[in-house]
């Protein structure tokens, strides 16, 4: 089998006395979408935040393309070509789309000043591809709809050629049409060979988009299954009961 793009081994983190993620291992291959499911507080977002550098794990190891990785900050994570789209949409509301897209990685002129015109031109290009209806380039993103804001967040991941994409409930705030758009985009990115971690509460959506799903409960990994081997009901019972009904059946 090929070397996984990401391998998290026996990862744990505790906040106070609570073991938010307890000895969890998970892997992700190129061109694969792995779904993370579980109740609120099951540890999905926490697990993913250790990969994106927002949290620092207490114990465990992360391997990126077979090499041991040290991720202590969001910047480290970016250096490994990991991009994250957060549930809360990490956008600065008072800045326009281009400033947000390039936040932390501004294009500069040869004198070291930020090159707004160039960034706007690049933003126009990528937006024409992702969301052709996107026109409000000059306005602060607070003036945009949920879908438009989401496209800014996604554009950020796509523009910087991420290899590993983490999407934490990317469609939670979106309408039907916009959700479809995001789903199409996930399929397109997957076809390009990215590895994607997807977190969502929508089991049906997950069955449609993911290659494998991992279910977490109370900080522990319940199990990982290929979607073609399980039904939606199996997944639900894994989420609720914390075990795979097929395991007991056999």
């Amino acid at each position: 089998m090929t070397t996984p793009l990401v391998e998290m081994k026996n990862v744990s983190i505790a906040f106070g006395g609570v073991r938010a993620v307890d000895d969890v291992s998970i892997e992700l291959h190129a061109g694969e979408v792995v779904g993370l499911l579980g109740h609120n507080g099951a540890g999905k977002s926490t697990l993913i935040k250790m990969l994106s550098g927002a949290y620092k794990m207490d114990s465990g190891e992360i391997y990126i393309e077979g090499n041991k990785a040290t991720i202590n900050s969001p910047r480290d994570s970016r250096d490994y070509n990991i991009e994250t789209i957060y549930q809360t949409l990490a956008l600065a509301d008072n800045l326009d789309a281009a400033s947000n897209l390039f936040l932390g990685r501004e294009l500069t002129t040869r004198f070291g000043f930020v090159n707004d015109d160039k960034m706007e031109a690049e933003t126009r290009k990528i937006m024409a591809r992702l969301n052709p209806n996107f026109k409000k380039l000059k306005e602060p993103v607070s003036a945009l709809s949920g879908g438009q804001r989401q496209s800014v967040a996604i554009a950020r991941a796509v523009y910087f050629n991420a290899k590993i994409l983490i999407m934490d409930e990317p469609t939670a705030a979106l309408g039907v049409h916009e959700t479809e758009m995001v789903a199409d985009l996930i399929k397109e990115l997957k076809a390009q060979g990215l590895g994607i971690f997807l977190i969502s509460h929508d089991t049906r959506e997950m069955m449609d988009l993911c290659d494998r799903v991992s279910v977490m409960k109370n900080g522990k990994m319940v199990g990982t299954e290929r979607v073609e081997n399980v039904t939606e009901d199996d997944i639900l019972s894994m989420i609720i009961l914390g075990k795979n009904p097929n395991d007991t059946a056999t």
């Binding site: 927002a54 600065a92 509301d93 008072n94 932390g104 501004e106 015109d117 706007e120």
Partner: protein, 430 residues
Amino acid sequence: MSDHTTAAPAPRRTFLQSLEVDLRLLGMVGAFLAVCLVFNTLTDGRFLTPRNIFNLTIQTVSVAIMATGMVFVIVTRHIDLSVGALLATCTAVMGMTQTQWLPEMFGFELGHPMIAWITIAVGLFVGAVIGGAQGWLIGYQGIPAFIVTLGGLLAWRNVGWWLTDGATIGPLDKTYTLFGGITGTLGAGPSWIVGIIATIITLLAMWSARRAKTGHGFPVKPMWAEGLIMAIVTIAILGFVAILNAYTVPERVVARDPSVFGCEVAEGCVAAYGIPYSVLVLIVVAIVMTVIALKTRLGRYIFATGGNPDAAELSGINTRLLTVKIFAMVGVLSALAGIVASARLGYHTNDIGTLDELRVIAAAVIGGTALSGGIGTIYGAIIGALIMQSLQSGMAMVGVDAPYQNIVVGAVLVLAVWIDIQYRKRVGAK
């Protein structure tokens, strides 16, 4: 489809939309002009004389310099209550440096030309260190800025008192006091040269910005609008120089030493003050701070952090170090304001800069800086400082008693913020 839409005729735009001017800038300038006109009427034309405009300008400099830094502090959702006290510590250090430490410890003769420059360097350094230390407590130790700088407000003025044994320090060095305003001006000829160079640079900058936009195929404002704004800018810069140059040196001052003003004898000698050095300092500060705000990564990170601190952090911005930098900047600006303030007095006194923190915060807020963070402009803060100073000196000229002056200034502060909130609600901006 997106490529073809640009070829479609642009929707009809109103006059102001074509000009693409910031309506809030227009509003603030309008408010400032209204204040000036009202006082001019009340004082029978004494308010808008070259002499009073000259005085108003030099009185505003100290607060305006600090207000540009306060914009960054407030934009990142912090506050700095210590600027007035910090100013006093810096002037105490600078007063002692030039009158005692340098002459006594290092053997500089009083009046040595290097004294002023060494003093200024020491002052700016002390400002940066104290500001940076406060920033470290706020950014890295997580103590709220309100508390750290409230402590600073109590502490620093009295550190100044301790350094000077509470004494008034002076008279200050002759070169140093050139930064005080009327004590150091360019004179008529050089003022015109500065004005013309400033105009040319501004017009070139506007032109190259337009070229860059057309180069990327972005829409630009119509030529007539560009031309009109260029004309207004030219008139504003050169008009300002003309007004300052119109304030001539009074005869009795010329009579003291005509040679200073390029005359052999006092009779018939007409000399203009021109642009004060302190105003040049403010202009340079304003330009540098505006460039930082709009054209550097530092500025972008300041505004991003103000808009959403979590997003900034997750984007890989070191928001802690950013806090240290911002407060160090305010420290340097407080020292700079201290140079202007003490040079204007000719002395360091214990109460120098008292209540300046409130004037500075008020100036930034009147200038449209939002305490909720993420929004603010440098030009706004400077206009805010000008509005505050015009109100105060206008009322003094009309003869309003000091307590009533403060009531009016307080009411204007609240009113200005209320108008700003209403305006933002109208246009739907946050």
